[in-house]
Symmetry: C2
Subunit: 137 residues, 2 copies
DNA sequence: CTCAAATACCACTTCGGTGTAGTATTTGCA
DNA sequence: TGCAAATACTACACCGAAGTGGTATTTGAG
């Protein structure tokens, strides 16, 4: 019942960057501030670049900055890019073939819960997160 | 955002057995009916025995049957026994150290969603599940 | 008593997510 | 131009969950 570590990291990194969304961030700085290993963070940054959330500047004084308005980046977009939506859209019991017509007794409450979770992801933008003070990353 | 495969299997198996909760089920039958590999199911059955949900009868015409009233076995009990409650009680972003006092902007809606999910698990017994027709396992 | 048919146990393999290492490439500035 | 400091890339190591194989043990029927 958790997102993958990679999704966690991605949300953490982008949330952190969203605090000053025009700034250019180096991998070195992010590694120091956030709790992600150097190599893994760099790999992830490249992935996030290719996904279009950020753009990278190589060379001396390079780094990463947002490629688009953080008001248009939602948590659901990030999760989709990293692990695909199936990972959190499916049934909690893993039974793909049953439907609303053939439900088990957990179905109704599960579907309701799931819907709420999804709508949370789809409605929460990085901008919104940046408006809240986060002490610990 | 999913339970482990093992939890899925456990819930599937016990839900199936709950349809006729006094019957003695052989591993062979369960393997045929449910979609779990022979060896893995047998290993899991031993684990479920040790956890006290079922008891096993060895020898010729042996098998498994419930060790207690299925009205007293809740989904949350099963998940706890297999993967521990931490796995689905924590924060979705994996940041253990922030609290209700230092929340990010997802916190409130996440906590609400999580609470609903947990209460679903804690209120749904195998008996309740058995009352609903499940076509596909 | 013997055997068939069932579970229990131990050890190994496989696989995907996570993390690491080393090297190549880019780029601005002295 | 040459170097320092940054990112990009490729390949491999690690680890826990999932899955498999083979053997030992139990037990009732005949
Ligand atoms: S009926 Fe039950 S098992 Fe099937 S999708 Fe709904 S919650 Fe999952
Ligand atoms: S504030 Fe709440 S939802 Fe946000 S990261 Fe912390 S525990 Fe998770």
């Amino acid at each position: 019942m958790k997102l993958s570590k990679t999704s966690e990291y991605a949300i953490r990194i982008l949330s952190y960057m969203a605090k000053d969304s025009d700034k250019l961030y180096s991998a070195k700085l992010l590694v120091e501030k956030l709790n992600v290993s150097d190599k893994y963070l760099r790999k992830l940054m490249t992935l996030l670049s290719k996904a279009g959330f950020i753009k990278s500047m190589q060379g001396r004084y390079g780094g990463y900055k947002f490629a688009k308005d953080i008001k248009n980046i939602y948590i659901s977009n990030i999760i989709d890019a990293i692990e695909g939506s199936e990972k959190y859209l499916g049934c909690i019991l893993g039974l793909d073939d049953c439907s609303d017509e053939n439900p088990c007794s957990m179905h109704e409450v599960w579907v309701t819960t799931r819907a709420k979770l999804i709508s949370t992801f789809e409605k929460t933008s990085l901008y919104k997160i940046s408006q809240t003070e986060i002490i610990k990353f």
